[in-house]
Symmetry: C2
Subunit: 166 residues, 2 copies
DNA sequence: AAAGTCTGATACGTGTTGTGTCAAGGCATG
DNA sequence: CATGCCTTGACACAACACGTATCAGACTTT
């Protein structure tokens, strides 16, 4: 019933990367817990290179979202989200991950989409965002055209009934 | 579970029209069967104004599509399709209606979307098509910009895994 | 008049979805 | 090292969605 994820418009560029999950997660090179578990403010000695702003393990993320941890694991298995990992393979949910789950819940609960539909919609958003940027850079020297494209693409996003962000 | 249809980007323009079904169908002014039922080629005396190319009653449409008539009625009740009517309120399926049902079936069977997802996808296609045209007309004097927008929007359509047409 | 369609309702089998639980093992921390 | 939370994988269950099917009573078409 479930299909492989749709071809992404960004594919021609980066190709060596993680292909929006679907492949089993791999152990990261360097991360450990002990600064996560609750909102991990950057350690005083940090050089600000990694810049972790808020990272939660699954139990905390589930409590924040008021969802079952198994649901989050299921979403990840289906490729809908892609949280980071500690060296010990613990899932680490960033603010963006949390927001994405909230978007998924909106699409599912409010619009009535099933998970295949959510996958489709997320891919559509990503592709629309990418295309918008591509058009923007292709119209570099023509500010009037950039303006028109911006306005119309924003209209398009609004027409898809999104809550606010993304 | 089901929401009202999303706001359409074309709304600001035509507003008196049929709002993509959802309202109960009304009796048309002038149509009768007798040239439909099988592919109705235009009668010899036709002035070519109406230009009916192929119109089928529900039983024939269901046979063509290899689907149950109840399924077609259900799609219409949900606002996914909007076939014409005879004066006697018999449904008349045009070639475009048939194609739309085939698209619905593709989205449902192949991509696994439920009907809410199909509604979302169809609305997305319509809005994308409308936005593309609006951008095109706004970029009238700038062929280079029109070219870029056309190419990128076509890319976007491709990325949504459509079969071919639409 | 016969055949087919209309609307509206009800029903049923199958599949999806969120949630829940279990087992066996690994990591973090006191 | 013991405790607690995490990991993966599997299985289960209630509620719901969907396509199909059927019925009744009225209307349309030929």
């Amino acid at each position: 019933m479930y299909q492989r994820p749709r071809p992404n418009v960004e594919d021609e560029a980066e190709d060596k990367e993680q292909r929006e999950s679907q492949a089993p997660p791999t152990r990261p090179e360097n991360t450990n817990l002990s600064s996560a578990k609750t909102a991990a403010k950057p350690a005083p000695g940090d050089q600000g290179v990694i810049e972790v702003q808020g990272v939660y393990i699954i139990s905390v993320a589930a409590r924040i979202l008021d969802m079952h941890p198994q649901t989050l694991r299921k979403y990840e298995k289906l490729g809908l989200i892609n949280p980071g990992r500690t060296i010990g393979m613990l899932r680490l949910y960033s603010i963006e991950d949390i927001k994405k789950v909230q978007l998924i819940r909106y699409l599912s609960d409010e619009l009535g989409l099933n998970l295949a539909g959510v996958e489709f919609a997320l891919a559509a958003f990503d592709n629309m965002t990418a295309i918008k940027q591509r058009m923007d850079s292709r119209l570099e020297g023509i500010p009037a055209a950039q303006q028109a494209v911006h306005e119309e693409m924003d209209l398009l996003f609004e027409s898809l009934n999104l809550p606010h962000d993304h």
